[in-house]
Amino acid sequence: LSGWRLIMNRFSLHDIALQPEQLRRLLQDPACGGYAAFEGWVRDCNDGRTVLRLEYEAFGALALREGERILDEAQQRFGVARARCAHRVGPLAIGELAVWVGVSAPHRGEAFDACRYIIDEVKHRVPIWKKEYYQDGDSGWVNCERCAAGASPGHGEPLAHEHATHVQRIASAGAASISRAAPELNVASAGAAVADAGSAVAKGR
């Protein structure tokens, strides 16, 4: 089973809708009595502003590597049998599934803990960026607002470890058009075959 785990790409990026039922099936294991999953959805407001839609952009090669590392850590740290994470890239509408994390383990405790660990680490470490488009026509890259020269990172903690409460105001000219994600982005080609995402990593290594 461990050999199978190694060749599978457990962290994947997708430019079409995630399919949790398919992802869940990949975690089934006769040795596991507990399964926990987390779904992150696109919310219609952030920091008091009405969000109409958003867009994720990823540095594909490094995102896949770092994602795999996080899943490795979770499996070692909590002793869970299987763990996966799938993240969307590109434009998303309100209510859409943005990120899915699933873990299976012998018992529920490790499953809950590992699931929580994975989503927290993914948010802080994986090079994926979120641009929000607001009702007032403005748009902004979440977490980048306080990063101009002269500002202070403060408290010695990397800013990437803070949650999205501020956004950078971008010149309104940019707000009108949806920018496409970088063309070289490594994305799973089809949601129908989730395991296809494995090829992206295999090629990247």
Partner: protein, 302 residues
């Protein structure tokens, strides 16, 4: 806030007492010093001028270029710098003496890449005395007031001005790049040295960056061919997803400082992480020719 536009000024105004002739017209490899200096500087700045006294305006070599004539007479280089800042007070000025036969493009690019536009000037530290070199330096708009104050005190030495001002001091990548030529003997020696080993960029303009591999110029300053990928807010600020450039930057930190100025990136490096060749990297680790560098804004997945 981006840096004020950069203009160039080649100083030719001084009389060469020791050489007994007009230094601007001294020739190396068939080119006058003035011609060489203008060719080095013009591709690197928005506009480039020759500084001259009124009595030099008729000189056909100078007349080939846009000229800024001294406002105040007989003040030496300080008069030329003053006239330029007086004429275009909103620009930064890269000021260059014309008698620097060893100067190369790489040295000027290094100066521009490390420009600190919020300070009075950016200059190299002299290899001889550790003082700022005023005649291959960038004078920012705020230096005009200081120059006028200095002149009002009959203080005409630009080196003294910089030594007592808020100046960004850089180490010379090539310690000989600013050696100048004041006597006939030095001229003969310089001619011989240049024939033996011409400065890498003497014949080429900034467009020489087309070369595909890292090259060590005559002075040993290593240049690297690097690829940069931009994501998210930095992609929007840079106006591109990727670029390739030839640079003297030896670490990701130096590269980011260079690109920040070149592309007007507003994010401070303290907020970024860096990746080299698709793996997280260190800001201070040396870059190699052919490396791909990505600067990572604060992430926001999930």
């Amino acid at each position: 806030m981006s840096a004020p536009e950069l203009y160039g000024l080649v100083l030719t105004g001084g009389r060469s007492r020791r050489m007994q002739r007009d230094k601007a017209n001294l020739e190396y490899a068939g080119k006058s010093q003035l011609e060489r200096a203008m060719q080095l500087l013009t591709p690197l700045v928005a506009r480039c001028f020759v500084s001259a006294r009124t009595d030099q305006l008729e000189d056909p070599r100078r007349a080939a270029y846009d000229t800024i004539v001294d406002v105040l007479p007989n003040l030496g280089p300080m008069g030329g710098i003053h006239a330029a800042l007086h004429a275009y007070p909103d620009c930064g000025w890269l000021v260059l003496a014309c008698d620097l036969p060893f100067l190369d493009t790489a040295t000027l690019q290094h100066l521009i890449a490390h420009r600190a536009s919020t300070r009075v000037a950016t200059a190299f530290r002299s290899s001889f005395d550790g003082q700022p070199e005023p005649l291959c330096a960038i004078f920012e708009p705020r230096s005009l007031v200081l120059i006028e104050e200095s002149l009002a005190r009959s203080q005409q030495c630009p080196r003294a001005l910089l030594a007592s001002s808020d100046v960004e001091l850089l180490e010379l990548p090539n310690p000989r790049a600013l050696d100048n030529v004041n006597t006939g003997e030095e001229y003969v020696a310089a001619q011989a040295a240049l024939v033996a080993a011409p400065p890498a960029a003497a014949a080429a303009s900034a467009a020489s960056s087309a070369s595909a591999s890292a090259s060590a110029s005559a002075d040993g300053a290593t240049r690297r061919r690097l690829k940069v990928r931009y994501f998210a807010v930095l992609r929007e600020q840079a106006g591109r997803s990727t670029e390739e450039l030839e640079t003297q930057a030896g670490t990701p930190r130096q590269l980011y400082d260079e690109l920040r100025r070149l592309r007007g990136l507003t994010l401070a490096p303290e907020f970024l992480r860096v990746a080299v060749n698709d793996e997280f990297g260190d800001w201070r680790s040396p870059l190699a020719d052919g490396d791909t560098v990505v600067f990572l804004p604060p992430v926001a997945g999930g």
